[in-house]
């Protein structure tokens, strides 16, 4: 699985830690913001583009609160992005929402929890079935 990862300046340190952590797993990590020169709109937009152009299967964006990145990514048609701060939502949002990107707030979520959130997000699979009508609705929007 190919994972696009990105951050703004506030999320850079945690993004680097998550990148190092995930590189020890069987994932191909594509860092779309290699420096601290991006804001969260740029970071989330680059991640959304990587998903929409099929360069990556899933994406992880880190900014200080997660909120800005998640608002931004969802403005792109076909992108389903969740701001995640707990392990339960990390899994459920893939199972029910077919989420392709998660946003994590580096000022809110600690390193250990952020790693567990990434694990659960990347290991989960979409349930489909009755959930597909909601995903069809989301994908018709914006």
């Amino acid at each position: 699985m190919k994972i696009a990862i990105a951050s703004d300046q506030a999320g850079f340190e945690l993004k680097e830690k998550l990148k190092n952590y995930l590189e020890n797993h069987p994932y191909e990590i594509i860092d779309v913001t290699k420096s601290e020169d991006y804001d969260f709109v740029e970071a989330a937009s680059k991640t959304a583009k990587a998903i929409n152009e099929a360069q990556a299967d899933r994406g992880i964006v880190v900014d200080e609160y997660g909120v800005g990145s998640s608002i931004t990514a969802n403005k792109y048609k076909g992108i389903i992005c969740a701001n995640v701060f707990d392990e339960h939502s990390a899994r459920m949002t893939v199972r029910h929402n077919n989420t392709s990107i998660i946003a994590i707030g580096s000022g809110i979520v600690g390193e250990k929890l952020a790693k567990r959130i990434c694990d659960r997000f990347l290991q989960a699979t979409y349930d489909g079935g009755r959930h597909q009508i909601r995903v069809d609705m989301l994908n018709k929007m914006c």
Partner: protein, 171 residues
Amino acid sequence: MRISIGCDHIVTEIKNHVADYLTKKGHKVIDNGTYEKERTHYPIFGRKTAEKVVLGEADLGIVICGTGVGISISANKVKGIRAALVGDIETARYAKQNLNANVLAMGGRILGIGMIEDAIDVFLETIYEATPENKALISKIDSIPMSEEAINANHMFDEFIEKWDKGLYQD
């Protein structure tokens, strides 16, 4: 304030509690449903709640589903909406103060009533600070090209509901 609210069938009782809570505080509540516990689809209610805000019929929106994720995404996919999914009070403050968030989203299966009420209080009380930095980020979000199809679009999901009624979305 005029507050537009919406939820899915998982958290109808929590949304009703929030409606009562806001009404007791003197706010005018526009309840977009769902009103029952019968299985339905969160984008219907996220879109409706957001539309009232964009059209100026409500000042702010509050949306709740199981994790808060699905309904927050459907609100965000309406042009002009900045919906903040929060699990803590500090993020609710930041989202309003810095991003001028106009919809607050929460997970009814994630947060307890105490956190939900507290986050709502802080979200409503916090005033947006229109600094050059904040304005620049918001206008950058606004510049992402989006269709306005989801505004004034009560029938945009009909094709999917017809498929659902025919039993074409089976687990």
